[in-house]
Amino acid sequence: MALRVTQHFVEFATGDAESSDLRVTDQWIDVLASGYDYDPDLRVTDQWIDVVASGYDYAPSLRITALWMDVCATNIQRGFTSLLGTARSSLAGSTLLLGHPLGLPAEIQPTAPVYEEPVSAYTGMLATFNSLLGVRFQLGSETLFAPSYNVHASDALELDDDGPLCNAIYQRVAIDDGLSLSLDDLVQRVFEVVSFDLVSFGEQAAAVLVRASYDTLSLSDEAIADVQVTRHVTDDLVVNDTDGATFVGVYPRSAADNELATQLQDTAAASVVYRRRVFEALSLSEQAARILTASDSLVLSEAAVADRILSSGDALVLSDEATSSTEHTCSASDTLDFSSAETATPGHTTQRDEEDTLSFVEDAIGDRCRVVDEETLVITDVADAEKVRLIHDELTLDDDTGATYVGVFYRSAWDTITATDEANTDRELDAAASDAIGLLEDAAVIFDAPEETLVITDVASVDKCKYAIETVELYEYADATRDRITCSDDLSLSEVASYNITRNVRAQDAGLILDERAWPGFHRVEASDAVQVEYVDYDPETYEPIITYTGLQDTATSALVPSAAREVSDRLYPAERAECIKINAGAIEAIASDALVLTEKASRNRLGDATDTLALTETAAVVSSKLLVEDLELTETASFSIVRNNLSASDTLSIGEAILYYNALEDYLYAYHPFVGTGPSSNPDPPDIELDGPIPGITDPFKLVYPVVGPFSDTLVLRAPNLGNRDRLQMNRISRETRGGTLVVYADPIWPKIQTLVLNFSGLSWSEADGLHTFMDDHLGQEVGMLDWEHRFWSGVITKLDDPIVQDGRGCQYSVGFEFEGELATYSP
């Protein structure tokens, strides 16, 4: 047996023959030699020996045996006694706190004889945890002893400043404890707070895991809780931060704690999940991130972001730039209010049962909303509601300023408005649904008139239902009151009501009312209208469908004006077309208005699923105009009158806005045209209104400087570069062609955009040409500044250095060139 035997081992082993089977190392022998009463039945490993020999630093991965605890206790007691001995004079009159409510092995109870001094004579703390002991003494600003800490009950643990306890391990803080971490303390392990605890994190403290019950948890300043906060009952969580603190936590709660409020304020960001079960009040402000709530009151203000909200019985208020991007599930008596927000964005899906109120004011954007039963949706000003699905909803867009347009405005092409509204259900349930859609279009045209086409397609189908009513009303008005204008207005309406069930079904479709008028201000007018209604009835014996077509109902009025030379026609067809052809440019003011109101209603007496989607795209084009005003008003109502079983309803309203025009005056065609227009927020950023012009006060024709921000330590003045310079834009993008041949082009906004100037100089003196090479040598690869020949300032690097100096003739006839890659910058000498 190749044991490594030392003198100490021999001295020990002679008293116990069985210990020779152990693997003996110097460290183990040192332990034995220190006076430990060796028990040969215990398993002693290298790890254990390492732990014992290195002091009492707790390593959780070690296998802790009773032997190790014995040794640990012995050594701690010994070390503590020694510590007291060295600090005895300073500890006089202080208090020593002991605590071990969870129980300790009997052999390591901190009894009085261990310390050889009265317990009340010292300041500091001795804490026990399972098999680990720790002690700390704070004598003034000096910490005498700082092992690992595990605190049980009735302990007060404080970490201040930059003391050596910063990296201590806090395993458990038990009942009635107060734990305070402040300043630069970093606790990088685990906090487990059992009950009735007060945990406070100050400034840059970081706690990875905090679990509490009946706790008050306060995070302030730049405190970071990286993982979880688990709170059970009657919690009060307050997070205050004015400096960008980040809070990440999970809050499951199990019982009522209605009187307490949880608040995240300022720029705090809770980027993971908050779960609250009952009767909690949760307030998130600014950049708070995710919330999962039940029966909560949730307030989001300013830039708060709530990615996911599951709630019941909630009051949800989003204001300012609040963004709620996922789901709202509410059971009853909810109020969802978006008010006085500049760019408020309630995110994706809102599901609410009844008696809800949803309002968007100003720039509020509601991407998706699902509302069930008796809801009111109001969108005013420039609000955009991209997708709104409602049943028994009322949707109103009001524009009091006259400066807001929904649709696309330009002057040179046709104007097309398409409204498609579809409501479908395929379930045979007791349900009723009604949907009212109102479109009001008003376009004023001066000078040239566009061709405008309005297409409305309305399809309501109920596959399995015993009764359905659909009423569509269209009102169209076209008026051209001035001379030399031809106006035609075609309105086409096709309405079909069909029923697919072959038993005991009766369909009635008689609610088609057309009112069409045309007032030509002159000349002859022709109008025709064609409407066909299809009735479907069933044979009571065979249940075979019997289709009956009721002929055309056409009401058209034509007025004949003397000296008819032009023609105005107004017909009612499955499409609307208003054309105003002009035409004496600049001379005649003409006004054309086109108002279209569409109201749709679908009712069922059985409960079922209904989906109603209304998509509007409106475009008015005027080639040349002095005034262009277009108003679009939408009214949509959908409701369930009977709710017995599972019911789901969705309603989507997509509205996009874009305005575009250009001034067609000849002088402007050759000048820089300030880009004027607006579009949806999803569009790329438009070009700047103004270009970067020359910097005043610059007289040098061309200058290279270093550094970019002054004062410049190196400058080189050259003559302006030769004509033929190139300005190269290299933008990264990807192009793919689909299997069907569609070309798809994509570019991420963060992908680099490189602008390169290729410049050549001639007629330089030798000192100028040589100076350019010297400048490039001195600042090779460094960012330099360049005042170009237009006195614009660029910052970048010279990328092509191998252009030679060529002497083209006698005297100052040197030529040289280089390439410069950079971007426009602020000139600050």
Binding site: A658, L669, F675, L691, P694
Partner: protein, 131 residues
């Protein structure tokens, strides 16, 4: 007159340009592959594309070139609507990369305080479908 509007369909920026120079190009992108069987039968395989590839060269004043340059920077990857000098409307994308502006000569002084006058030349490659 030549117009470029972007992004399509929610247009927000329009720039008007002079007609392109002669030697503009319009390329059919359809392809045909011909094969012959052992018995001499000739087979053709075609790929149809409704797109056309256009190549236009413009001579622009310096301010207009800066305007077009800003247009490229914003919409180089967006869907563009172009009304060409034959009043045809195209919907498609720019395929030029890089966009290179060359100062080919002097021009009349520009309007103050805009940069001084030069004549710029730029070539635009565009693939799109005629509407």
């Amino acid at each position: 007159m030549f117009r470029m509007e972007a992004p399509y369909p929610s247009l927000q920026t329009l720039t008007v340009m002079p007609n392109p120079q002669f030697s503009d190009q319009e390329t059919n992108l359809n392809t045909v592959s011909r094969n012959t069987a052992m018995d001499g039968t000739r087979y053709t395989y075609v790929r149809r594309r409704t797109r056309r590839k256009m190549l236009w060269t413009f001579r622009l004043s310096r301010p207009k070139a800066l305007e077009v340059q800003a247009f490229f920077k914003s919409y180089f990857a967006s869907q563009i609507r172009i009304t060409d000098h034959r009043s045809r409307t195209w919907i498609g994308h720019f395929t030029s990369n890089p966009f290179e502006f060359e100062a080919i000569g002097r021009a009349a002084p520009a309007i103050n305080p805009m940069p001084r006058g030069e004549t710029m030349s730029v070539e635009i490659e565009f693939e799109g479908e005629e509407q």
